[in-house]
Protein backbone atom coordinates (compact mmCIF):
# COMPACT_ATOMS: atom_id res chain seq x y z
CA UNK A 1 0.00 0.00 0.00
CA UNK A 2 1.37 3.39 -0.99
CA UNK A 3 0.93 6.44 1.20
CA UNK A 4 2.20 10.01 0.92
CA UNK A 5 3.90 10.97 4.13
CA UNK A 6 7.05 12.55 5.52
CA UNK A 7 10.41 10.80 5.78
CA UNK A 8 10.07 10.73 9.56
CA UNK A 9 6.78 8.87 9.24
CA UNK A 10 8.42 6.47 6.79
CA UNK A 11 11.05 5.73 9.45
CA UNK A 12 8.42 5.33 12.18
CA UNK A 13 6.46 2.94 9.95
CA UNK A 14 9.60 0.87 9.47
CA UNK A 15 10.17 0.72 13.23
CA UNK A 16 6.54 -0.27 13.75
CA UNK A 17 6.71 -3.05 11.14
CA UNK A 18 9.99 -4.26 12.64
CA UNK A 19 8.34 -4.76 16.01
CA UNK A 20 10.75 -2.73 18.10
CA UNK A 21 10.13 -3.63 21.74
CA UNK A 22 11.85 -0.76 23.54
CA UNK A 23 12.07 2.80 22.23
CA UNK A 24 13.94 5.43 24.21
CA UNK A 25 14.39 8.84 22.71
CA UNK A 26 14.84 12.51 23.42
CA UNK A 27 13.33 14.95 20.91
CA UNK A 28 15.59 17.09 18.74
CA UNK A 29 14.88 18.89 15.48
CA UNK A 30 14.52 17.47 12.80
CA UNK A 31 14.11 14.03 14.37
CA UNK A 32 11.21 15.08 16.64
CA UNK A 33 8.26 14.05 14.40
CA UNK A 34 9.71 10.54 14.16
CA UNK A 35 9.74 9.97 17.92
CA UNK A 36 6.39 11.76 18.30
CA UNK A 37 4.90 9.36 15.77
CA UNK A 38 6.35 6.36 17.60
CA UNK A 39 4.99 7.55 20.95
CA UNK A 40 1.56 7.98 19.31
CA UNK A 41 1.72 4.46 17.89
CA UNK A 42 2.64 3.01 21.27
CA UNK A 43 -0.05 5.05 23.02
CA UNK A 44 -2.68 3.91 20.50
CA UNK A 45 -1.74 0.28 21.00
CA UNK A 46 -0.56 0.03 17.38
CA UNK A 47 3.01 -0.77 18.41
CA UNK A 48 3.54 -3.16 21.29
CA UNK A 49 6.65 -1.48 22.67
CA UNK A 50 7.76 0.27 25.81
CA UNK A 51 8.28 3.94 25.01
CA UNK A 52 10.68 5.36 27.55
CA UNK A 53 10.97 9.15 27.53
CA UNK A 54 14.38 10.10 28.84
CA UNK A 55 16.03 13.33 29.92
CA UNK A 56 18.88 13.22 27.39
CA UNK A 57 20.32 11.40 24.41
CA UNK A 58 23.01 9.88 26.60
CA UNK A 59 20.23 8.28 28.62
CA UNK A 60 18.36 7.26 25.46
CA UNK A 61 21.32 5.19 24.33
CA UNK A 62 21.89 3.89 27.87
CA UNK A 63 18.31 2.60 27.96
CA UNK A 64 18.77 0.99 24.53
CA UNK A 65 21.98 -0.67 25.75
CA UNK A 66 20.17 -2.09 28.78
CA UNK A 67 17.14 -3.16 26.75
CA UNK A 68 19.25 -4.80 24.08
CA UNK A 69 21.39 -6.54 26.72
CA UNK A 70 18.16 -7.95 28.14
CA UNK A 71 17.36 -9.46 24.76
CA UNK A 72 14.81 -7.01 23.40
CA UNK A 73 14.76 -5.19 20.06
CA UNK A 74 15.70 -1.59 20.86
CA UNK A 75 15.42 1.59 18.79
CA UNK A 76 16.25 5.23 19.16
CA UNK A 77 16.71 8.24 16.92
CA UNK A 78 18.47 11.56 17.13
CA UNK A 79 20.21 14.35 15.22
CA UNK A 80 23.30 16.53 15.42
CA UNK A 81 24.30 17.52 18.95
CA UNK A 82 22.00 14.84 20.34
CA UNK A 83 24.08 12.24 18.54
CA UNK A 84 27.26 13.79 19.89
CA UNK A 85 25.86 13.69 23.41
CA UNK A 86 25.50 9.91 22.94
CA UNK A 87 29.09 9.50 21.81
CA UNK A 88 30.37 7.58 24.83
CA UNK A 89 27.40 5.22 24.72
CA UNK A 90 27.75 4.71 20.97
CA UNK A 91 31.18 3.21 21.53
CA UNK A 92 29.75 1.16 24.39
CA UNK A 93 26.86 -0.21 22.33
CA UNK A 94 29.23 -1.31 19.57
CA UNK A 95 31.85 -2.66 21.96
CA UNK A 96 29.18 -4.63 23.81
CA UNK A 97 27.99 -5.96 20.42
CA UNK A 98 24.38 -4.90 20.89
CA UNK A 99 22.20 -4.86 17.74
CA UNK A 100 20.52 -1.51 18.42
CA UNK A 101 19.09 0.39 15.46
CA UNK A 102 19.11 4.17 15.42
CA UNK A 103 17.90 6.69 12.87
CA UNK A 104 20.19 9.69 12.51
CA UNK A 105 18.23 12.51 10.92
CA UNK A 106 21.25 14.36 9.61
CA UNK A 107 21.74 17.93 10.78
CA UNK A 108 24.68 20.28 11.07
CA UNK A 109 26.48 20.59 14.39
CA UNK A 110 26.79 23.69 16.59
CA UNK A 111 28.53 26.00 17.27
CA UNK A 112 27.23 28.09 15.66
CA UNK A 113 23.76 26.68 16.22
CA UNK A 114 21.95 25.30 13.20
CA UNK A 115 18.92 23.07 12.76
CA UNK A 116 19.47 22.46 9.05
CA UNK A 117 20.95 19.59 7.14
CA UNK A 118 24.46 18.37 6.54
CA UNK A 119 26.27 15.09 7.30
CA UNK A 120 28.82 16.22 9.89
CA UNK A 121 26.89 14.56 12.72
CA UNK A 122 26.96 11.01 11.36
CA UNK A 123 30.41 11.32 9.80
CA UNK A 124 31.91 12.54 13.07
CA UNK A 125 30.73 9.23 14.64
CA UNK A 126 32.35 7.19 11.88
CA UNK A 127 34.76 5.35 14.16
CA UNK A 128 32.36 4.35 16.94
CA UNK A 129 32.02 0.83 15.51
CA UNK A 130 28.48 1.33 14.18
CA UNK A 131 27.37 0.32 10.71
CA UNK A 132 26.25 3.46 8.85
CA UNK A 133 23.72 3.34 6.01
CA UNK A 134 22.51 6.38 4.06
CA UNK A 135 19.08 6.78 2.41
CA UNK A 136 18.09 8.76 -0.68
CA UNK A 137 14.29 8.76 -0.46
CA UNK A 138 11.39 7.65 1.73
CA UNK A 139 11.18 4.17 0.25
CA UNK A 140 14.78 3.61 1.15
CA UNK A 141 14.15 4.95 4.67
CA UNK A 142 11.38 2.48 5.51
CA UNK A 143 13.10 -0.40 3.70
CA UNK A 144 16.49 0.33 5.28
CA UNK A 145 15.06 0.53 8.82
CA UNK A 146 13.57 -2.96 8.40
CA UNK A 147 16.80 -4.29 6.90
CA UNK A 148 18.85 -2.61 9.64
CA UNK A 149 17.29 -4.72 12.39
CA UNK A 150 18.02 -7.95 10.51
CA UNK A 151 21.53 -6.81 9.67
CA UNK A 152 22.29 -5.69 13.22
CA UNK A 153 20.96 -8.88 14.75
CA UNK A 154 22.87 -11.05 12.26
CA UNK A 155 26.28 -9.48 12.91
CA UNK A 156 25.56 -8.21 16.43
CA UNK A 157 26.72 -4.72 15.55
CA UNK A 158 24.50 -1.64 15.97
CA UNK A 159 23.30 0.18 12.86
CA UNK A 160 22.68 3.85 12.10
CA UNK A 161 20.14 4.59 9.40
CA UNK A 162 21.01 8.09 8.21
CA UNK A 163 18.71 10.38 6.22
CA UNK A 164 18.82 14.06 5.44
CA UNK A 165 17.13 16.34 7.95
CA UNK A 166 14.28 18.41 6.48
CA UNK A 167 15.16 17.49 2.88
CA UNK A 168 13.87 13.97 3.56
CA UNK A 169 12.58 14.07 7.13
CA UNK A 170 10.00 16.81 6.51
CA UNK A 171 9.32 16.32 2.80
CA UNK A 172 6.30 14.31 1.70
CA UNK A 173 6.43 11.77 -1.09
CA UNK A 174 4.78 8.44 -1.89
CA UNK A 175 6.23 5.20 -0.60
CA UNK A 176 5.07 1.63 -0.27
CA UNK A 177 4.44 0.20 3.18
CA UNK A 178 5.43 -3.47 3.07
CA UNK A 179 2.95 -6.12 4.17
CA UNK A 180 3.40 -6.89 7.90
CA UNK A 181 3.32 -10.64 7.27
CA UNK A 182 6.12 -10.36 4.71
CA UNK A 183 8.17 -8.24 7.12
CA UNK A 184 7.73 -10.92 9.80
CA UNK A 185 9.06 -13.52 7.40
CA UNK A 186 12.03 -11.34 6.47
CA UNK A 187 12.72 -10.28 10.06
CA UNK A 188 12.02 -13.04 12.58
CA UNK A 189 11.65 -12.20 16.26
CA UNK A 190 14.85 -11.15 17.98
CA UNK A 191 16.20 -14.28 19.63
CA UNK A 192 19.75 -13.63 20.86
CA UNK A 193 21.95 -16.51 21.94
CA UNK A 194 22.45 -14.83 25.27
CA UNK A 195 20.66 -12.12 27.25
CA UNK A 196 20.70 -10.69 30.74
CA UNK A 197 18.72 -12.89 33.09
CA UNK A 198 18.13 -12.17 36.81
CA UNK A 199 18.21 -15.93 37.43
CA UNK A 200 21.73 -16.04 36.08
CA UNK A 201 23.61 -12.88 37.10
CA UNK A 202 26.64 -11.84 35.10
CA UNK A 203 29.12 -9.01 34.85
CA UNK A 204 29.36 -7.54 31.38
CA UNK A 205 32.24 -5.58 29.92
CA UNK A 206 34.08 -5.06 33.15
CA UNK A 207 37.74 -4.01 33.25
CA UNK A 208 39.47 -6.14 30.62
CA UNK A 209 43.17 -6.71 30.97
CA UNK A 210 45.63 -5.94 28.21
CA UNK A 211 46.57 -9.59 28.01
CA UNK A 212 44.56 -12.77 27.60
CA UNK A 213 43.68 -14.70 30.75
CA UNK A 214 41.87 -17.85 31.89
CA UNK A 215 38.21 -17.14 32.74
CA UNK A 216 36.19 -18.63 35.62
CA UNK A 217 35.73 -21.84 33.66
CA UNK A 218 39.44 -22.09 33.01
CA UNK A 219 39.05 -21.24 29.32
CA UNK A 220 41.23 -18.67 27.66
CA UNK A 221 39.40 -15.36 27.54
CA UNK A 222 40.35 -12.65 25.07
CA UNK A 223 42.07 -9.49 26.18
CA UNK A 224 40.96 -6.04 25.18
CA UNK A 225 42.86 -6.11 21.91
CA UNK A 226 41.37 -9.43 20.74
CA UNK A 227 37.90 -8.02 21.45
CA UNK A 228 38.72 -4.96 19.36
CA UNK A 229 40.11 -7.06 16.53
CA UNK A 230 36.92 -9.13 16.62
CA UNK A 231 34.77 -6.06 16.17
CA UNK A 232 36.90 -4.86 13.29
CA UNK A 233 36.92 -8.27 11.60
CA UNK A 234 33.17 -8.62 12.00
CA UNK A 235 32.69 -5.12 10.61
CA UNK A 236 34.67 -6.09 7.52
CA UNK A 237 32.66 -9.31 7.17
CA UNK A 238 29.47 -7.28 7.65
CA UNK A 239 30.01 -5.89 4.13
CA UNK A 240 28.95 -9.28 2.79
CA UNK A 241 26.06 -9.46 5.24
CA UNK A 242 24.83 -6.07 4.00
CA UNK A 243 24.74 -7.56 0.50
CA UNK A 244 23.02 -10.74 1.72
CA UNK A 245 20.42 -8.72 3.62
CA UNK A 246 19.74 -6.58 0.56
CA UNK A 247 19.38 -9.68 -1.62
CA UNK A 248 16.97 -11.32 0.80
CA UNK A 249 14.96 -8.11 0.98
CA UNK A 250 14.82 -7.86 -2.79
CA UNK A 251 13.61 -11.45 -2.99
CA UNK A 252 10.76 -10.74 -0.56
CA UNK A 253 9.79 -7.21 -1.54
CA UNK A 254 11.17 -6.71 -5.04
CA UNK A 255 13.20 -3.64 -4.10
CA UNK A 256 16.95 -3.21 -3.71
CA UNK A 257 19.80 -4.70 -5.67
CA UNK A 258 22.39 -2.00 -4.96
CA UNK A 259 23.50 -2.51 -1.37
CA UNK A 260 26.71 -0.45 -1.61
CA UNK A 261 26.47 1.92 -4.52
CA UNK A 262 23.38 2.98 -6.43
CA UNK A 263 24.61 3.81 -9.94
CA UNK A 264 22.83 6.09 -12.39
CA UNK A 265 24.09 6.16 -15.99
CA UNK A 266 27.51 5.00 -14.76
CA UNK A 267 28.02 2.02 -17.04
CA UNK A 268 29.46 3.85 -20.05
CA UNK A 269 30.41 6.97 -18.10
CA UNK A 270 33.90 8.47 -18.29
CA UNK A 271 33.17 10.63 -15.26
CA UNK A 272 31.22 9.75 -12.15
CA UNK A 273 29.92 12.02 -9.42
CA UNK A 274 29.71 10.46 -5.95
CA UNK A 275 27.47 11.58 -3.11
CA UNK A 276 25.52 10.20 -0.17
CA UNK A 277 21.85 10.71 0.64
CA UNK A 278 19.32 12.84 -1.20
CA UNK A 279 22.06 14.79 -3.00
CA UNK A 280 22.90 11.72 -5.10
CA UNK A 281 19.32 11.75 -6.40
CA UNK A 282 19.34 15.51 -7.01
CA UNK A 283 22.44 14.99 -9.15
CA UNK A 284 20.52 12.65 -11.48
CA UNK A 285 18.66 15.52 -13.14
CA UNK A 286 21.96 17.34 -13.61
CA UNK A 287 23.53 14.23 -15.13
CA UNK A 288 20.65 13.95 -17.61
CA UNK A 289 21.30 17.47 -18.91
CA UNK A 290 25.06 16.96 -19.12
CA UNK A 291 24.44 13.73 -21.06
CA UNK A 292 22.34 15.70 -23.54
CA UNK A 293 25.35 17.98 -23.95
CA UNK A 294 27.40 14.91 -24.87
CA UNK A 295 29.29 14.44 -21.63
CA UNK A 296 29.64 10.76 -20.66
CA UNK A 297 28.84 11.17 -16.98
CA UNK A 298 26.93 9.35 -14.28
CA UNK A 299 26.32 9.53 -10.54
CA UNK A 300 26.95 6.92 -7.88
CA UNK A 301 25.06 7.14 -4.59
CA UNK A 302 26.99 5.54 -1.74
CA UNK A 303 24.58 3.67 0.56
CA UNK A 304 27.05 2.10 3.00
CA UNK A 305 29.64 4.34 4.63
CA UNK A 306 30.90 2.11 7.47
CA UNK A 307 32.05 -0.55 6.98
CA UNK A 308 33.47 1.09 3.86
CA UNK A 309 32.78 -1.03 0.76
CA UNK A 310 36.20 -0.28 -0.70
CA UNK A 311 36.24 -3.13 -3.22
CA UNK A 312 32.88 -2.14 -4.65
CA UNK A 313 34.06 1.47 -4.80
CA UNK A 314 37.26 0.51 -6.61
CA UNK A 315 35.33 -1.68 -9.04
CA UNK A 316 32.81 1.07 -9.79
CA UNK A 317 35.27 3.93 -10.18
CA UNK A 318 38.77 2.76 -11.10
CA UNK A 319 38.21 2.64 -14.86
CA UNK A 320 36.80 6.17 -15.01
CA UNK A 321 38.68 9.25 -16.16
CA UNK A 322 37.42 11.35 -13.30
CA UNK A 323 35.52 11.04 -10.04
CA UNK A 324 33.87 14.04 -8.43
CA UNK A 325 33.05 13.61 -4.73
CA UNK A 326 30.36 15.89 -3.32
CA UNK A 327 29.96 15.84 0.42
CA UNK A 328 28.25 17.60 3.27
CA UNK A 329 31.02 17.17 5.84
CA UNK A 330 34.61 18.23 6.43
CA UNK A 331 37.55 16.59 8.15
CA UNK A 332 38.82 19.92 9.44
CA UNK A 333 42.40 20.52 8.51
CA UNK A 334 42.46 17.89 5.76
CA UNK A 335 39.67 17.38 3.23
CA UNK A 336 36.27 15.79 2.75
CA UNK A 337 36.22 12.50 4.70
CA UNK A 338 34.48 10.60 1.90
CA UNK A 339 36.99 12.00 -0.58
CA UNK A 340 39.85 10.59 1.51
CA UNK A 341 38.13 7.21 1.76
CA UNK A 342 37.48 7.01 -1.97
CA UNK A 343 41.03 7.97 -2.89
CA UNK A 344 42.34 5.31 -0.51
CA UNK A 345 40.03 2.69 -2.05
CA UNK A 346 41.47 3.54 -5.49
CA UNK A 347 45.12 3.52 -4.42
CA UNK A 348 45.75 -0.15 -5.26
CA UNK A 349 44.11 0.06 -8.67
CA UNK A 350 46.26 -0.22 -11.77
CA UNK A 351 44.51 2.82 -13.22
CA UNK A 352 43.49 5.61 -10.93
CA UNK A 353 41.07 8.34 -12.01
CA UNK A 354 41.56 11.97 -11.07
CA UNK A 355 39.46 12.51 -7.95
CA UNK A 356 37.95 15.91 -7.17
CA UNK A 357 36.30 17.11 -3.98
CA UNK A 358 33.48 19.57 -3.38
CA UNK A 359 32.11 20.49 0.03
CA UNK A 360 28.58 21.87 -0.10
CA UNK A 361 25.25 22.23 1.66
CA UNK A 362 26.71 22.75 5.12
CA UNK A 363 24.14 23.84 7.70
CA UNK A 364 21.39 23.74 5.09
CA UNK A 365 23.02 26.07 2.54
CA UNK A 366 20.83 25.54 -0.50
CA UNK A 367 22.44 23.32 -3.11
CA UNK A 368 21.71 25.11 -6.34
CA UNK A 369 21.47 23.01 -9.46
CA UNK A 370 23.50 25.60 -11.38
CA UNK A 371 26.36 25.17 -8.92
CA UNK A 372 26.33 21.43 -9.53
CA UNK A 373 26.58 21.99 -13.29
CA UNK A 374 29.54 24.32 -12.85
CA UNK A 375 31.34 21.96 -10.49
CA UNK A 376 30.90 18.95 -12.75
CA UNK A 377 31.84 20.74 -15.99
CA UNK A 378 35.00 22.06 -14.34
CA UNK A 379 36.17 18.52 -13.56
CA UNK A 380 35.43 16.96 -16.95
CA UNK A 381 37.31 17.11 -20.22
CA UNK A 382 40.89 17.33 -21.36
CA UNK A 383 41.57 20.65 -19.68
CA UNK A 384 40.20 19.63 -16.29
CA UNK A 385 42.50 20.79 -13.49
CA UNK A 386 44.50 18.34 -11.44
CA UNK A 387 42.78 17.09 -8.35
CA UNK A 388 43.45 19.71 -5.71
CA UNK A 389 42.31 21.05 -2.36
CA UNK A 390 38.58 20.56 -1.75
CA UNK A 391 36.49 23.45 -3.04
CA UNK A 392 33.54 24.86 -1.12
CA UNK A 393 30.53 25.26 -3.40
CA UNK A 394 27.83 27.84 -2.80
CA UNK A 395 29.79 30.31 -0.68
CA UNK A 396 28.34 33.83 -0.96
CA UNK A 397 31.06 35.93 0.65
Amino acid sequence: MHIIESGNVAAASGVQLSGAQVIAAYPITPQTPLTEKLSELVDAGELNAQYIPVESEHSAMSVCIAASSAGTRAFTATSANGLLYMNEQLHWAAGARLPIVMCVVNRGIGAPWTVWNDHQDAISQRDTGWIQLFCCDHQQIIDTVIQAFRLAETVRIPVMVCYDGYILSHTYMPFDIPEPAAVSRFLPEFAPDWALDPACPANLNTVTLPDIRPDVRGETAPGYMEIRQNLHGDMRRAIDVVADTDAAFAQTFGRGGNPFIEPYRCEDAEYVAVAMGSLSYQLRDVIDVLRQEGLAIGVAGLRLYRPFPNRAVAEALSAKKGVIVFEKAVSYGYEGPLYADIKAALYDCAHRPAVHNYILGLGGREIKTDDLFDSLRTCCGADAPEAREPAFVGLKI
Binding site: H2, I4, P30, V115, W116, Y166, I167, L168, H170, T171, Y172, M173, P174, S278, Y281, Q282, R284, D285, D288, V289, G364, E366, I367, K368, T369
Partner: protein, 193 residues
Protein backbone atom coordinates in the same frame (compact mmCIF):
# COMPACT_ATOMS: atom_id res chain seq x y z
CA UNK B 1 16.07 20.51 -16.85
CA UNK B 2 13.03 18.28 -16.71
CA UNK B 3 9.93 19.80 -18.26
CA UNK B 4 7.51 17.10 -17.10
CA UNK B 5 7.06 18.58 -13.62
CA UNK B 6 4.25 20.95 -12.64
CA UNK B 7 5.54 23.20 -9.88
CA UNK B 8 3.09 24.72 -7.44
CA UNK B 9 4.25 27.13 -4.74
CA UNK B 10 1.95 27.76 -1.80
CA UNK B 11 2.18 30.97 0.21
CA UNK B 12 0.46 31.04 3.57
CA UNK B 13 0.99 31.96 7.15
CA UNK B 14 2.28 29.63 9.84
CA UNK B 15 -0.72 27.72 11.17
CA UNK B 16 -2.90 28.41 8.13
CA UNK B 17 -2.69 24.86 6.82
CA UNK B 18 -0.80 25.34 3.57
CA UNK B 19 1.04 22.06 4.16
CA UNK B 20 -2.22 20.15 4.64
CA UNK B 21 -3.64 21.73 1.48
CA UNK B 22 -0.58 20.80 -0.53
CA UNK B 23 -0.70 17.28 0.90
CA UNK B 24 -4.34 16.91 -0.18
CA UNK B 25 -3.45 17.98 -3.73
CA UNK B 26 -0.46 15.61 -3.64
CA UNK B 27 -2.68 12.69 -2.66
CA UNK B 28 -5.21 13.56 -5.37
CA UNK B 29 -2.43 13.74 -7.96
CA UNK B 30 -0.91 10.43 -6.88
CA UNK B 31 -4.28 8.67 -6.98
CA UNK B 32 -4.78 10.08 -10.50
CA UNK B 33 -1.64 8.42 -11.82
CA UNK B 34 0.99 11.05 -11.11
CA UNK B 35 3.63 8.72 -9.69
CA UNK B 36 6.04 11.53 -8.92
CA UNK B 37 4.75 13.75 -6.15
CA UNK B 38 6.94 15.71 -3.77
CA UNK B 39 5.73 18.20 -1.21
CA UNK B 40 8.45 20.09 0.61
CA UNK B 41 7.74 22.74 3.22
CA UNK B 42 10.39 25.44 3.38
CA UNK B 43 12.12 24.76 6.60
CA UNK B 44 12.96 27.13 9.29
CA UNK B 45 11.88 28.24 12.67
CA UNK B 46 8.27 28.88 11.71
CA UNK B 47 5.87 30.63 14.02
CA UNK B 48 2.16 31.19 13.70
CA UNK B 49 1.27 34.09 11.44
CA UNK B 50 4.66 34.40 9.77
CA UNK B 51 4.80 33.99 5.97
CA UNK B 52 5.61 30.38 5.01
CA UNK B 53 6.21 28.56 1.74
CA UNK B 54 5.46 25.06 0.59
CA UNK B 55 6.66 23.53 -2.66
CA UNK B 56 4.58 20.90 -4.46
CA UNK B 57 5.97 19.17 -7.54
CA UNK B 58 3.80 16.85 -9.61
CA UNK B 59 4.88 14.59 -12.47
CA UNK B 60 3.99 11.30 -14.08
CA UNK B 61 7.51 10.15 -13.22
CA UNK B 62 9.54 9.90 -10.02
CA UNK B 63 11.03 13.21 -8.89
CA UNK B 64 14.63 13.19 -7.72
CA UNK B 65 15.29 16.88 -7.09
CA UNK B 66 13.77 17.85 -3.74
CA UNK B 67 15.09 21.40 -3.72
CA UNK B 68 12.61 24.27 -3.25
CA UNK B 69 10.75 25.54 -6.30
CA UNK B 70 12.29 28.68 -7.74
CA UNK B 71 10.34 28.82 -11.03
CA UNK B 72 6.74 27.83 -10.29
CA UNK B 73 3.99 27.23 -12.85
CA UNK B 74 1.31 28.03 -10.28
CA UNK B 75 1.37 30.18 -7.16
CA UNK B 76 -1.37 29.83 -4.54
CA UNK B 77 -1.77 32.58 -1.93
CA UNK B 78 -3.90 31.75 1.11
CA UNK B 79 -3.97 35.31 2.43
CA UNK B 80 -4.07 38.28 0.02
CA UNK B 81 -2.25 40.51 2.50
CA UNK B 82 0.83 38.39 1.81
CA UNK B 83 0.99 40.01 -1.62
CA UNK B 84 2.12 43.19 0.16
CA UNK B 85 4.73 41.38 2.24
CA UNK B 86 6.21 38.75 -0.05
CA UNK B 87 7.15 38.69 -3.73
CA UNK B 88 4.67 35.89 -4.40
CA UNK B 89 5.28 36.03 -8.16
CA UNK B 90 9.02 35.52 -7.78
CA UNK B 91 10.28 33.26 -10.56
CA UNK B 92 6.77 32.63 -11.89
CA UNK B 93 6.91 31.64 -15.53
CA UNK B 94 5.40 34.12 -18.06
CA UNK B 95 1.68 33.41 -18.35
CA UNK B 96 1.83 31.59 -15.00
CA UNK B 97 -1.18 31.31 -12.74
CA UNK B 98 -1.60 33.11 -9.39
CA UNK B 99 -4.55 31.99 -7.25
CA UNK B 100 -5.36 34.36 -4.40
CA UNK B 101 -7.81 34.13 -1.50
CA UNK B 102 -9.24 37.62 -1.53
CA UNK B 103 -12.57 39.44 -1.67
CA UNK B 104 -11.15 41.56 -4.49
CA UNK B 105 -11.44 40.77 -8.23
CA UNK B 106 -8.46 39.65 -10.33
CA UNK B 107 -8.20 43.12 -11.87
CA UNK B 108 -7.23 44.50 -8.46
CA UNK B 109 -3.86 42.75 -8.72
CA UNK B 110 -1.10 43.88 -11.03
CA UNK B 111 1.07 40.96 -12.01
CA UNK B 112 2.57 41.68 -15.42
CA UNK B 113 1.91 38.93 -17.92
CA UNK B 114 0.40 36.56 -15.37
CA UNK B 115 -3.03 35.00 -15.08
CA UNK B 116 -4.71 35.94 -11.81
CA UNK B 117 -7.60 34.00 -10.28
CA UNK B 118 -9.33 35.13 -7.11
CA UNK B 119 -11.96 33.76 -4.77
CA UNK B 120 -13.25 34.98 -1.43
CA UNK B 121 -12.43 31.71 0.26
CA UNK B 122 -12.63 33.17 3.74
CA UNK B 123 -16.31 34.09 3.27
CA UNK B 124 -17.21 30.96 1.28
CA UNK B 125 -15.59 28.63 3.81
CA UNK B 126 -17.40 30.40 6.65
CA UNK B 127 -20.71 29.89 4.85
CA UNK B 128 -19.82 26.22 4.43
CA UNK B 129 -19.64 25.97 8.21
CA UNK B 130 -15.88 26.06 8.78
CA UNK B 131 -14.45 28.23 11.57
CA UNK B 132 -13.38 31.70 10.46
CA UNK B 133 -9.98 31.67 8.81
CA UNK B 134 -9.93 28.01 7.75
CA UNK B 135 -9.24 28.47 4.05
CA UNK B 136 -6.82 25.70 3.15
CA UNK B 137 -9.47 23.30 1.86
CA UNK B 138 -11.63 25.95 0.24
CA UNK B 139 -8.82 27.26 -1.93
CA UNK B 140 -8.40 23.78 -3.42
CA UNK B 141 -11.67 24.53 -5.28
CA UNK B 142 -10.03 27.50 -6.97
CA UNK B 143 -7.08 25.30 -7.89
CA UNK B 144 -9.43 22.69 -9.40
CA UNK B 145 -11.17 25.39 -11.41
CA UNK B 146 -8.12 27.11 -12.85
CA UNK B 147 -5.00 24.89 -12.84
CA UNK B 148 -6.28 22.36 -15.38
CA UNK B 149 -4.50 19.51 -13.63
CA UNK B 150 -6.96 17.69 -11.36
CA UNK B 151 -10.75 17.76 -11.37
CA UNK B 152 -12.95 18.86 -8.48
CA UNK B 153 -14.32 15.39 -7.71
CA UNK B 154 -10.85 13.87 -7.39
CA UNK B 155 -9.74 16.69 -5.12
CA UNK B 156 -12.94 16.44 -3.05
CA UNK B 157 -12.18 12.75 -2.58
CA UNK B 158 -8.70 13.61 -1.33
CA UNK B 159 -10.17 16.17 1.08
CA UNK B 160 -12.56 13.52 2.41
CA UNK B 161 -9.67 11.09 2.94
CA UNK B 162 -7.59 13.73 4.74
CA UNK B 163 -10.42 14.62 7.11
CA UNK B 164 -11.92 11.14 7.44
CA UNK B 165 -13.72 11.01 10.76
CA UNK B 166 -13.38 14.78 11.27
CA UNK B 167 -16.47 16.11 9.42
CA UNK B 168 -14.94 16.34 5.93
CA UNK B 169 -18.22 17.54 4.39
CA UNK B 170 -17.74 21.16 5.47
CA UNK B 171 -14.30 21.14 3.90
CA UNK B 172 -15.50 19.64 0.62
CA UNK B 173 -18.45 22.08 0.62
CA UNK B 174 -16.01 24.97 1.02
CA UNK B 175 -13.93 23.68 -1.90
CA UNK B 176 -16.95 23.13 -4.15
CA UNK B 177 -18.37 26.58 -3.33
CA UNK B 178 -15.00 28.14 -4.11
CA UNK B 179 -14.86 26.20 -7.36
CA UNK B 180 -18.15 27.85 -8.39
CA UNK B 181 -17.13 31.35 -7.33
CA UNK B 182 -13.59 31.61 -8.62
CA UNK B 183 -12.99 34.62 -10.87
CA UNK B 184 -10.33 34.41 -13.57
CA UNK B 185 -8.75 37.56 -14.95
CA UNK B 186 -7.37 38.05 -18.42
CA UNK B 187 -3.64 38.16 -18.86
CA UNK B 188 -3.19 41.88 -19.26
CA UNK B 189 -0.63 42.54 -21.99
CA UNK B 190 -0.45 46.20 -21.07
CA UNK B 191 0.90 45.29 -17.67
CA UNK B 192 3.87 43.64 -19.26
CA UNK B 193 5.41 47.02 -20.00
Amino acid sequence: MRDDITKIRWHGRGGQGAITAAKIVANAAFSSGYGGVVMAPTFGTERRGAPVLTSLKISKHKIYDLSPITEPDVVIVLDHLLVEEVDVASGLKPGGLIIINTPRPPEAFAFAGMKVATADVTTLAGKAGLPTGIVNTGIIGAFARTADLLDMDTLAGAIESEFAGKSPEKNTAAARATYEHTLVGETDEKRQQ
